[in-house]
């Protein structure tokens, strides 16, 4: 039987492997997790992405059973686990701090859970060497945690979490304590491993790049609530609101003053749009990613083109970030990220250039955080 098939058998065909229904957690008067609904489909990689303090770690601890929900239900593989202690749930967990047992070797860490559950020695040893081969640490099995690198330690933590063949793998910012190089490498390994063994994974992170690169599904969290759920591409292209758009990358937001069918006035700029905003009551914005803004020759002839004075230029390698202020309008500052190679000579600060906001990239977004 293949792994994917095995894992498909576990959950009923239609219902998700992990299902949170209206889960809330309060500390005193502060609601840290606010009626969260979440579905993690079997064998998929779900990322909960949000700024620090948004409640994503508490959410993970609720799923792990380190905290108990005040209301709502947590259903895993068809069973209600809401009130179960961690010991009776079925998951493996990887922490940001690795949390390896310092007094046990690499092999001893991996076999810890197998010993606790009374797996016979021979089976234990077989399983440990298999797992260590899987994470590429077979030759380090006799070493102690302080004798190996951070990346290797996190691989041990991963092998340890998988030792009991859990149905669910929980990852609490597993890569954020590592160097940038190790991080991107381990990220790819993590994704490949998850797909290979077909375990349902749920990772919390504040790093959008990390979420984009591993997730089948991203859940955006803010102030204890879920803002949006969808595939990485989906939420990047059609963010639900200004918060989501900004969390996923830079975003020019021009406040809408008036709008009708296919026309809008945003901070004194007359825009042609292919959306019709429902309202323009101060929290509505016309938005565009800096990468979609056109500058110079390619902007000329495009709709929504304005003459703008360059305010600053930031060299970022192949890409140059340029801030410009349109000559007309109410002083809106537009940020553009352009390829260096598109220009023979870069415009200098103070020069006038043409800047265009192509209609098909303009989004209508609301700032829900102020309301």
């Amino acid at each position: 039987m293949t792994n994917a098939a095995l894992h498909q058998d576990r959950g009923a065909a239609s219902s998700p492997y992990l299902h949170l229904k209206g889960v809330s957690k309060r500390y005193g008067k502060v609601t840290v997790v606010d009626t969260v609904d979440l579905r993690a489909p079997t064998s998929k990689f779900v990322c909960v992405l949000g700024p620090s303090g948004c409640g994503k770690t508490t959410l993970l601890r609720l799923i792990a059973g380190f905290e108990t929900a005040d209301s709502g239900r947590i259903i895993q593989a068809g069973n209600d686990v809401t009130a179960l202690p961690p010991e009776r749930r079925d998951y493996g967990i990887v922490f940001q701090s690795y949390a390896l047992f310092p007094n046990r070797t690499v092999a001893g860490n991996v076999s810890f859970g197998l010993e606790a559950t009374g797996v016979p020695r021979a089976e234990r040893e077989k399983r440990v060497s298999e797992l260590l081969r899987l994470v590429g640490l077979a030759e380090h099995m006799g070493k102690y945690p302080n004798q190996i690198s951070g990346g290797q330690q996190q691989r041990v933590a991963l092998a340890r979490a998988l030792a009991l063949s859990p149905g669910l793998l929980l990852l609490d910012e597993p890569l954020s304590a590592l160097d940038a190089n190790v991080r991107s490498h381990l990220r790819d390994e993590l994704k490949a491993l998850q797909q290979r063994i077909g375990v349902t994974a749920l990772m919390v992170t504040h790093d959008r790049e990390e979420a984009f690169s591993v997730a089948d599904q991203i859940v955006i969290m803010n102030k204890g609530r879920i803002e949006q759920t969808g595939s990485p591409e989906q939420i990047y292209r059609t963010p639900a609101n200004l918060f989501v758009a900004r969390l996923l990358g830079g975003c020019n937001a021009l406040r809408l003053e008036a709008a009708d069918h296919n026309h809008a006035m945003a901070q004194g700029l007359q825009l042609s749009t292919n959306f019709t905003p429902g309202h323009t009551n101060g929290s509505a914005y016309a938005c565009i990613r800096p990468g979609a803004v056109l500058v110079g020759p390619e902007a000329e002839g495009c709709e929504n083109a304005f003459a703008a004075r360059v305010v600053s230029l930031t060299f970022l390698g192949d890409i140059v970030r340029l801030q410009a202020r349109p000559e007309q309008g109410a002083g809106a500052l537009i940020e553009a990220e352009v390829l260096r190679s598109r220009f023979e000579t870069m415009p200098a600060a103070g020069e006038i250039v043409t800047v265009a906001l192509p209609m098909r990239h303009l989004m209508f977004l609301e700032d829900t955080s102020t309301s």
Binding site: D90, F101, R104, A116, R127, I197
Partner: protein
Amino acid sequence: MTTVADAMPQRRQIQRWAPPMVQSLLPLTAVILLALATILPIGALLMRSLFDRHGSFIGLANFVRYLAEPGLSIAAWNSITLSGIATALTVVIAYPVAYAFNRSRMPMKGVFRTIIMLPLLAPSLLPALGLIYILGTQGIAKDLLFGGQLYGPNGIVIASIIYALPHAVLIMSSGLAQSDARLYEAARALRAGPWRQFLQITLPFSRYSVISAASVCFVLIFTDFGIPTVVGGSTNVLATDIYKLVIGRFDFELGAVVGVLLLLPAVAAYGIDVLARRAQRATITGKSVPVAPSKSPMRDIALTAFTAIVCFAILFVIGMAVFGSLVKFWPYNLSLDFKNYTRVFVDSDDGRALIASLWLAGATVVFGAMAVAITGWLVARRIGGGLPRQMVQALAMLPVAVPGLVLGLGYIFFFNAPANPLSVFFGTLTIMVVCTVAHFYTVPHLMVVGTLLRADPEIDLAARALQSSPLGTARRIHWPMLLPTMIDVCMYFFVNAMTTVSALIFLFTANSRVGAIAVVNLLEGSRFGQAAALAVLIMLISIFATLALNSVKFYILKSQPWRSK
């Protein structure tokens, strides 16, 4: 392709979920036992000070009666002033020594440190005895007092300094050890000379450890019973008065009053110590770079000379006690023999007391170590509910603020009450073991908490997620981490149980008399040579135990390669 899931049993076995007995029952048991050993006896003493001997409430009438007796209230004044003077001198002497250990390139630091710490291994009576041989009426250097008397304020102050010095050096060393080299680099960049650096960086940054050392030494000296008994002469202090009132006059009510008077300054000093330590911690950041002493021969010569003089004084005093124990008949026949030592073993009483000391120390080590391992684990790894855990911590912190004499007297009031079913233990070695464990509980409890707090709390969560029970995690993860600290805990309990007098002076009977108390009794009978011999034997046993336990610790550390890189 074989994969992990293929190789595994299809469903993992989920262990039966045991009700969390450990989390609920253990903290509760700890609270009850700790309360019985600490707060209830202390409460009994506080109550007693407010009642008359027939058991009716009389408010503060006992305190009024105490103040009305002129001889008694003078003792309070003596205690405060003499302890104050001795504390000030101790700190002044200890600071340069601690500075030499941490901020100089003094040679032979290990040797000096061992000598400075030597008084910790002997009863406080031993330096007092040594002083008698040096400065007493028949002492070899009594002229050093310029016609003054050893017995009285002089003797109390000098002996107290030797007794308290190791504590002061230890506390101030930890304060001077944790400083930030970057501050000194910044000061040099601003062209501050060494003297200015000392005044504006070293001194301000170590001031909290000085305050901390002063309050600890004050309590030690203020509540010590041994020194004023031996060299106090006719100078009354609270610590000797409480004994006379209770044992001599059977006036338990006034005894309780003196107990309260001993307790209050001790609690106040402890409060100051806690605040000072908190402030000290706040001055250190995680990024601090330790200071490496620069080259400065003048400084090193001066500090080495000073430390050497202090060490010589300690060795001289202790050495004279040892010498006195070997002398045939001081001061008339100075030829040496082991008569005083053989007499300890021939005299069945003193020999029996020494054996009782070993039993007491052994039992204190076993039960004390077990208890602090459990309470420290409960507190550090957050086992069980918040409230019982906080109560365990509060009760474990209590004894350090309670003088041994006060605790011992409280034990009389609490355990000797006819209504108390536990009174069957009164007068036994059992109650003395309980009292000794309680008396010295705080420091080893904190050692365990400190060690276990160093481990990431997420380790426990990881273990739980891997279906390990709290006790399973304790056995397989926490215990190996704790093991070397447990050796320090055993050492602390053993040495203190061997040398303590104050808590036990009220609790012993003819059958449960221990060595350190036998020394007091011998001194009361002016049998100095025998007293010195017994005190030296206690010190030798302590030294031997320390060496033995240190080598055990060495082998434990060697067997735990995961500690080093």
